[in-house]
Structures are given as structure tokens and as C-alpha cells.
Symmetry: C2
Subunit: 174 residues, 2 copies
């Protein structure tokens, strides 16, 4: 078994927004995917340790902003490697409050969607939230950021709480 084979799976990259009452938060995720077309339904996998997981469980809503290829690493770092428990992640970020009252991140976004959670599935370290889409818009026709591009071209890294984290071997060549 070669665990690096899993890195061949293809993903986009997203900022997931949610709220708990009036508190807002967002985080990077790569596992957003449509699961049915009628009605339009999406799923997202979020680590249980993340504040966004707690917020989605509380409010039962989330947003997903599709990132463009030109998204700076610093932007991804703010949403992917820091916790909303320590900083206000939306400080200095261009966003709007959606129909779900959750924040929709607009900086570096190609498109966005909003969803109301209809089901959540405990899968060990993560929760899969399944949501009915209540709003979706395209912002620009810029090229989307793929997970592969982020790793290969941008030399981006993956936090340990991501579903796709693979422990680096000491002295490994990968």
C-alpha cells in the first residue's frame, strides 16, 4: 500500500463559512462535492477539532467559496493554519452575510454557495455535513485553484486536521 496514491484524488479548494449565533468563522477545506442534482445537494468533511465543525453543528448552515488559482498562500494560511478560537479570521477580509446569515468570503472567490444541513455523519475524526443548496452564484470566470496545483505549483502544505493529511516520512523524498 502506497498512501501517496491518495494524493492523486482531485479536489478544488474552498473557504467554508459558518456561524454560531452572531459569531462568524471560516476555514479552508478541499472536500466539498455535489452528491445529488435533484435537489442540489453538497457535502463537506470537517474535522471535529475545528471551530467551524462546532459552528455548523450549532447553526446547521454553511457556505463554501470556491478559490481562484491566483489565491495567495498567505490567504490560505489565515484560514487553514490558524484557529478562530485564537483570532478573528474575518478581520480585513471582504465578505458578506448570506441568506443563511453565515459569512460568504468574497476575496479570491470564483463562486459561492450556501447550504442548510439536512444530515451529518460521524466518520471518526471528521463529520460529513450534507446540505441542501439554498443559494449559489458565480463571481468571476477566473481559473479555479485545485488541490494538486496548490501542492505542486504553490508548494502549499496540509494541516494535520485535514482529511487528506499524510504524515511526511523523516528524510523522505516526497
Amino acid at each position: 500500500m502506497n498512501p501517496n496514491a491518495l494524493q492523486k484524488l482531485g479536489y478544488g479548494m474552498y473557504i467554508i463559512g459558518s456561524r454560531k449565533g452572531d459569531r462568524l468563522n471560516g476555514q479552508v477545506a478541499n472536500t466539498v462535492f455535489q452528491i445529488t442534482s435533484e435537489p442540489p445537494t453538497v457535502a463537506v468533511s470537517i474535522n471535529k477539532k475545528n471551530l467551524t465543525n462546532e459552528f455548523i453543528k450549532d447553526s446547521r448552515v454553511f457556505t463554501a467559496s470556491v478559490l481562484r488559482q491566483a489565491t495567495p498562500l498567505s490567504f490560505i494560511g489565515q484560514f487553514g493554519f490558524k484557529s478562530g478560537r485564537d483570532i478573528d479570521k474575518l478581520k480585513g477580509i471582504n465578505y458578506k452575510i448570506g441568506e443563511t446569515k453565515a459569512p460568504i468570503i468574497l476575496d479570491n472567490a470564483v463562486a459561492y454557495l450556501e447550504a442548510e444541513v439536512t444530515n451529518d455523519i460521524d466518520v471518526g475524526t471528521h463529520t460529513i455535513f450534507i446540505g441542501k443548496i439554498v443559494n449559489a452564484e458565480i463571481i468571476t470566470e477566473d481559473e479555479c485553484l485545485t488541490y494538486e496545483y496548490y501542492h505542486q505549483v504553490k508548494r502549499g502544505t496540509t494541516p494535520k486536521t485535514a482529511p487528506s493529511y499524510i504524515a511526511e516520512k523523516k528524510g523522505g523524498s516526497n
Copy 2:
């Protein structure tokens, strides 16, 4: 709401293999994604109308072969727009029987994985199968086919049974 916003979600493209007793089948899918890293777990969304859905429910195993960018449309057509109820989809195809005894399609594959189903979730038209990975290998370092590339460069189309199908508007310009 602009349903085309959902086309901005990023995916790879895969052939999902499964079996029912000694009967083998495979189909194209775009929604394969890792959901936890410890243990390595993947999920796949398969339409209930598809023979592969019936096979996975019966055998509780599936394989996923990650397709390379150079995959011909005719190959995708064989696995994506025809049913294993009508034809033997593996006829003339290079594959091997994996540890799960399900077929692993090798033609046009960059990498593959095998999984044992631990949970399946009814999401209306589709079933999400969650599987623990029991085998995974890289075959080549060729570039992977993305769903976006398939649509934009190859001008590929999507069958009605896909989770990501969007009905074309009559006379629409998209």
C-alpha cells in the same frame, strides 16, 4: 441562484469497480474523496439506478482508478454512458482482480485504491459509500484528468445519473 456555480466545484475523474459474486462491473464517477486520514477512508457517491450501486451494496467493496488527463473520450463513454446490464464493460479492457476481488481498471489509470465499505448513506437519488482503504498504489506520474478539463478541453458531457448533472436550458448558451 445560479446552478452553474456548482460546476466550479473541483473533482478528479475515476473508474469505480465492484462485483456481485463473480460478476464484475465498472463505471465513471467524479465524486471520490478522502474523508479521514486515520484510518485512511474514502467516500464515493453512486446513483441508485446504476448497476455498480447494486454491486457495491452486495459485495461491500469497491475500487477506484484515477484517470489520466490523456484518457480518450471513447473510454469514458464505455464506462460512463453504457450500462453493465446491457454490455460487458470490461471486454477488451486491461484490469486486474484486487485484494477485494473487485476489478481494478488499469487502462488510463494513474493510481488506484481498494476499499471495504464501512457505512452507506442514503442521500435520495444517490448512495454515499464510505470505505476503509485496504490497498492503494501509484501506477504513473502522468497528469490526472480533472472534471473541469474533461468539460472544457475535451468537451465531455455528463449523464443524467451523475450527482453533478445540470439540465441544459433549451437554446441556452452554456
